[in-house]
């Protein structure tokens, strides 16, 4: 009985992220449009796009191999699972022992791996540009992410997201400089990983500036749809990651009553709304930077993460 | 053993050292030969004296060999060779005579220094003789390395051998001295009248060992 409820909750969580991911994307777009004094597409536009694309036939380049065709599903699956394992409205989910924070980061890594391979498969130069730049960015983003994981897990004594959330909610957490630093670092990483301004512009199709879009240039139809879905899932994932690690308030824990779950969902929606708004404002406020300045940008994140870890030792007194 | 025996022995030994110095100093071929003959003569005399005072008749043989071979035959042969090779001009020594003499004196001092602490029970006779013969040997070596000319190097080597004979005879009752001196005379013979000089003569127009460096193998 217990198990079934847990499984149910886990399933709800999975469906929740799957369902509201496009909504978040649409919401951010809409906000940006408003900030740029445009009317912008309706909030539900992403769903329409997905449905439209799914129903279209897929056009494959002559040279495309099975890698090109299976990559989208692999990307989608890994991203979905990763997103489903990050607590959104409730911690202690039944599958959460399957993967701690490091494993979740690694899952995203596999998704990136598949995407980069897909970019190289057709054998045009655009895909290559995208993949190589993506890997370069990742090579800087991942250590930064790991440093953040260190900081948090050194505080909470765990890499398990549920425990982290519990710790941050708990009383013994004072105001921590290092937490703030790692939050900033995490935001930078999230921006880079989700191909947002200033690292990359999801809206552009100007070859020399695009990274993510360059890789998926050859995709069409259902494959494109699946990749887009994965992209918005990833965005959502990072939002809920930040929420879970730095603002876990209102999170329900497994085995609690329905009311707590409802509160959890509610607070989660609020967090998403606030986060989305901030993102939109930030993106409108900043300009895209040259590709080779991205390394400095992410290097800053890495430094912040390292600094946070070391500061922790100083503040912890051994 | 009476004083006289000792003194005579010392006289001969000291004379040998003196002769070695003269060899070092002498830089004319024929002069060199003559002094070497003297050197050999002194050796044979001292050996004979040792034979006399040690009552060791077999040493007379050694003395005779020294006299005949080294004091007479070899100088004559060398004289011939020198004439034939036409090298009876003055021979350049390496470095000035002055330094060489100084070095020689230093060597004598060294050999005495080395010999002093030892052979307390071996009797003064042997000790002095050893010191002298060692200095003769060292002087001979010095001569070999301070001359560029094969003949004078050979002479230096022979003076070394004289020093050895001196030492061997000084060692009282040492067996095989005769055999050893014979063996050495064989080397000398080989060196002097042996195939090498002729071969070298027919291969090169000089006996200057320096010139043979050109024929060294293994150079790129």
């Amino acid at each position: 009985m217990e198990l079934i409820v847990d499984a149910l909750v886990q399933l709800v969580q999975l469906l929740l992220v799957l369902s509201i991911a496009p909504l978040l994307t649409g919401y951010v777009r809409k906000l940006k449009a408003h900030l740029q004094r445009r009317r912008g597409p309706p909030v539900l536009q992403p769903y329409r796009d997905l449905l439209k694309l799914i129903r279209k036939e897929a056009v494959l380049a002559d040279n495309a191999s099975w890698v090109f065709r299976t990559a989208p599903y692999a990307i989608f699956a890994t991203t979905l699972i990763a997103a489903a394992l990050v607590p959104t409205f409730a911690t202690g989910l039944v599958f959460s022992p399957a993967a701690d924070l490091i494993a979740i980061v690694a899952l995203l890594g596999s998704a990136r791996f598949a995407l980069a391979l897909a970019g190289l498969d057709v054998g045009t130069s655009f895909g290559g540009i995208g993949s190589s730049r993506e890997m370069m960015i990742a090579s800087l983003a991942e250590p930064a992410m790991l440093m953040i994981v260190f900081t948090v897990s050194l505080l909470a004594g765990s890499t398990q997201l549920s425990s982290v959330a519990a710790y941050v909610q708990g009383p013994e957490l004072g105001l921590r400089v290092s937490l703030g630093m790692s939050l900033v670092a995490l935001i930078i990483v999230a921006i880079a990983e989700n191909a947002r301004i200033p690292v990359d512009n999801p809206a552009t199709h100007l070859e020399l500036t695009m990274i993510h879009e360059a890789m998926i240039l050859e995709y069409s139809g259902r494959h494109l749809a699946v990749i887009e879905a994965a992209a918005s899932l990833k965005l959502l994932l990072y939002f809920s990651l930040i929420a879970c690690m730095f603002a876990p308030w209102g999170l329900a824990t497994a085995g609690q009553g329905f009311a707590d779950f409802a509160i959890g969902v509610g607070s989660y929606i609020v967090k998403l709304a606030v986060g989305g708004f901030l993102l939109a404002v930030f993106e409108t406020g900043t300009a895209k930077m040259r590709v080779f300045r991205v390394s400095d940008f992410l290097g800053a994140a890495l430094m912040l993460g390292l600094l946070a870890t070391l500061l922790l030792f100083v503040s912890q007194r051994g | 053993m009476d004083r006289l025996a000792l003194d005579v022995a010392h006289l001969f030994a000291g004379g040998l050292v003196l002769a070695s110095f003269m060899l070092l100093y002498q830089d004319r071929m024929f002069g060199l030969l003559n002094i070497f003959a003297l050197h050999a003569l002194i050796v044979s005399l001292s050996v004979a004296w040792q034979a006399h005072i040690q009552l060791a008749p077999h040493l007379y043989v050694t003395a005779a060999i020294a006299l005949v071979v080294k004091a007479i035959i070899i100088p004559v042969v060398l004289h011939r060779i020198i004439v034939r090779l036409g090298i009876h001009r003055t021979i350049e020594t390496v470095g000035g005579i002055g330094q060489i003499m100084l070095a020689g004196i230093a060597l004598v001092a060294l050999s005495i220094l080395v010999m002093l602490p030892i052979t307390a029970q071996a009797g003064t006779l042997t000790r002095e003789d050893l010191a002298f013969s060692l200095s003769v040997i060292l002087l001979g070596l010095l001569m070999m390395i301070s001359r560029r000319n094969a003949v004078s190097q050979v002479i230096g080597f022979m003076s070394i051998e004289n020093g050895l004979i001196l030492a061997a005879t000084a060692a009282k009752g040492m067996p095989l001295v005769v055999e050893i001196s014979v063996a050495f005379s064989i080397i000398i013979a080989l060196i002097v009248v042996g195939i090498f000089l002729f071969r070298i003569r027919e291969r090169f127009d000089t006996m200057d060992v320096h010139a043979m460096g050109r024929f060294r193998g293994g150079q790129p």
């Binding site: 494993a103 054998g123 992410m145 | 060294l110």
Partner: protein
């Protein structure tokens, strides 16, 4: 008993190589040699597995009246030896299987067949040796046979050079191990390992031994800065030998380090860990950076060996640090991570080298810039290589991730260490580890993409044919192992428990009873990972998604030309090359690590000559460490060589002066 069988296996191998010398001319020899090697390694593997899993507790020992006369040759089979025997014989099993197919393309079998079994025998013996003499003898014998295999294709000048550097470096390593054992054994030569264990050595001595062991084992394992021979020698050998050298022989070196430092040397000091960890971190990052700059497929793999060895040594160093502070459980975690990575790396590195070998035989090319599009011509090889790349890039659900995850868990325990230097060092090492993992992923995107994806760049890669059945079997056995070790790591961790128990007196909690085969190194609340669950979930999610879309939405497909920006029929050379793929990373890291410089020559408008782009990179390790040694030796040799052309008089004056000096000494002494 087990030991007897193992030694007889070795004897069979040696006999085989002796026979191979005789029958080198005949064509059947290839088949015979490899099948014998296959059978023998199967036997040895099963025995080693039995030893490791049943763990009788007591080690089997044996003594033969050979080697040092008064000592004899001691052999010993304990769980540590058994573990490495598993690695060795697994590698040799697959390599022999692969050789059955690959060996037929060998132009000069006479130069490979006699040495292959001898090489296997040497590696097995090193692990079994139980006294210093036998150990070093077999160790150097292993180097010698592998050298012969490197020299198999000696007509290529580079290979000859590689062989020379390899053998000199190997002997250098052996020399330092020799010195280490000399210290351990003491002046009266207690060479037996049991004698060494019982002896206690002062801190200074142990530190020296550690340094020497680090040099000796590190130079064979390819630890930076002693790695220079590795990327030259490993690729030069035939591919199945490269797989053995890279995947297995480096592990024998790790074994040597573990045996000396953990077993023989006694209780470690904390700063040993700091040293080892630092070296490991540097090797990990530099190795993968080297690999990224490399366009030769086999060289790239060799450089990745350097990286993975670095990861292993990070684990070992952490274990030392924890053990030095009497934190046996943490040490056990770190050591388990290292040993598990030893196994994993041997598996996927052999797999990757087999793939590279298949590509090499199919196209005759090792340079990735001349390959491409092979996924269409050699689909199965491509699948195997892809699996290997995923595994080595430490991506779930494959095995590479698990061991690196465990290493991270060990790193996360570092705050508990009392020493401040370690507190500060270890997180930085963690960052380096993460960096190397991310870069490895990039590097294998490059390797797989440039080799198998895209369009064929040369006619050779257009006409490539799928490789033979033997090779494919070998490869897919390894693929399967990668997956199993990735999704069921619990069993492997439990198998490693007796080893850590023997070396550290502690072991991780048993994993196999846990729910759904989750692995929990310390506590569930702290961290846990479940490869099986992830694998199942991802597979279901992916399959479901595909099924739903294909079932209820469209599954129509249309082929058409790729988007070409309106410039049709571009040549395959215009696609992204390996070099161009590495360019961003080269810009970010290369300028610092390699002094990478880019020169662009752009002719004036109207000038018909082509524009040129040239990248110059320098190997700083070589320039700063090895080139000076070369120069010094050359200088000294030139100057000593003048003596050869002196005159007799000069030589005589040498004699004279030595006489005088000696006399002067005597005079002074008196």
């Amino acid at each position: 008993m087990a030991l007897t069988i193992l030694l007889s296996c070795v004897a069979i191998l040696l006999a085989t190589s002796a026979l191979a010398v005789a029958g080198a001319r005949k064509s059947a020899t290839t088949f015979c040699v490899y099948s014998v090697a296959l059978a023998v390694s199967v036997a040895a593997l099963s025995i080693a597995c039995w030893m490791l899993l049943t763990n009788p507790g007591s080690a089997a020992t044996m003594q033969l009246p050979i080697g040092l006369p008064w000592l004899g040759a001691h052999f010993r089979l304990d769980v540590l030896a058994a573990l490495f025997l598993v690695v060795i014989n697994l590698g040799s099993l697959t390599a022999s299987l692969y050789g059955l197919g690959y060996g037929r393309h060998e132009p000069t079998p006479g130069r490979v067949l006699p040495f292959f079994p001898a090489f296997l025998a040497g590696m097995n013996l090193v692990v079994l040796a139980d006294d210093a003499f036998t150990f070093l003898l077999t160790w150097e014998f292993m180097s010698l046979t592998s050298w012969a295999l490197v020299m198999a294709h000696h007509r290529d000048r580079d290979n000859a050079k590689a062989g020379h550097i390899y053998l000199v470096m190997a002997s250098f390593g052996t020399l330092s191990l020799l010195l280490a054992f000399g210290l351990l054994a003491g002046p009266d030569g207690g060479y037996g390992f049991d004698a060494i264990r019982s002896a206690t050595s002062s801190p200074g001595v142990s530190a020296t031994v550690l340094a020497l062991a680090l040099i000796g084992a590190g130079s064979k394992a390819g630890l930076v800065p002693l790695h220079v021979w590795l990327p030259l020698a490993h690729p030069a050998a035939p591919s199945h030998v490269s797989a053995l050298m890279s995947g297995v022989m480096t592990k024998v070196a790790v074994y040597a380090f573990v045996r000396i430092v953990f077993d023989l040397l006694g209780h470690p000091l904390w700063w040993w860990g700091a040293v080892v960890v630092t070296l490991g971190g540097i090797s990990a990052v530099l190795g993968v950076l080297y690999a990224l700059m490399e366009h030769d497929l086999k060289r790239l793999l060799a450089y990745h060996t350097v990286e993975n060895i670095g990861i292993i040594f990070i684990g070992l160093g952490l274990a030392l640090a924890f053990q030095g502070n009497d934190m046996p459980l943490a040490a056990a975690l770190a050591l388990t991570a290292a040993l598990f990575h030893v196994f994993n790396h041997s598996v996927f590195k052999s797999l990757l080298f087999f793939g590279a070998g298949a590509v090499l035989t199919a196209t005759g090319e090792r340079d990735m810039e001349h390959l491409g599009g092979l996924i269409h011509r050699m689909p199965l090889t491509a699948i195997a290589f892809l699996a290997g790349s995923t595994a080595i890039s430490a991506l779930p659900p494959f095995n590479g991730f698990v061991s690196e995850w465990l290493t991270f868990q060990a790193i996360l325990l570092s705050p508990k260490l009392p020493q401040w230097p370690l507190k500060f060092l270890v997180p930085a090492i963690g960052a380096m580890l993460a960096l190397s993992a991310a870069l490895a992923a990039g590097c294998f995107v490059k390797a797989f993409g440039a080799t198998f994806l895209g369009r064929p760049r040369t006619s050779a890669s257009q006409r490539a044919q799928e490789t033979d059945a033997f090779s494919l079997t070998a490869m897919f056995i390894l693929v399967l192992l990668c997956l199993i070790a990735g999704i069921l790591p619990g069993y492997f961790i439990d198998a490693l428990a007796p080893v850590t128990q023997q070396l550290l007196g502690a072991q991780l909690p048993a994993q196999e009873q846990l729910r759904w085969l989750t692995i929990v190194p310390i506590a569930e609340s702290r961290s846990s990972y479940n490869g099986l669950l992830l694998f199942v979930l991802i597979a279901t999610a992916g399959w479901l998604g595909a099924y739903v879309i294909h079932r209820w939405a469209s599954h129509a497909v249309r082929r058409s030309a790729a988007w070409d920006c309106g410039f049709p029929d571009a040549s395959p050379l215009t696609q992204y090359s390996a070099g161009s793929f590495a360019q961003p990373i080269r810009r970010v890291f290369g300028t610092l690590a390699f002094h990478a410089r880019e020169q662009v020559y752009m002719p004036a408008p109207g000038d018909t000559q082509p524009a040129r782009f040239h990248v110059s990179m320098r190997d700083l390790v070589w320039d700063s460490l090895y080139a000076p040694v070369e120069r010094i030796v050359g200088f000294a040799a030139d100057h000593f060589n003048k003596v050869q052309s002196w005159t007799i008089r000069a030589y005589l004056s040498l004699v004279f002066s030595s006489v005088v000096v000696l006399l002067a000494v005597l005079a002074l002494w008196n």
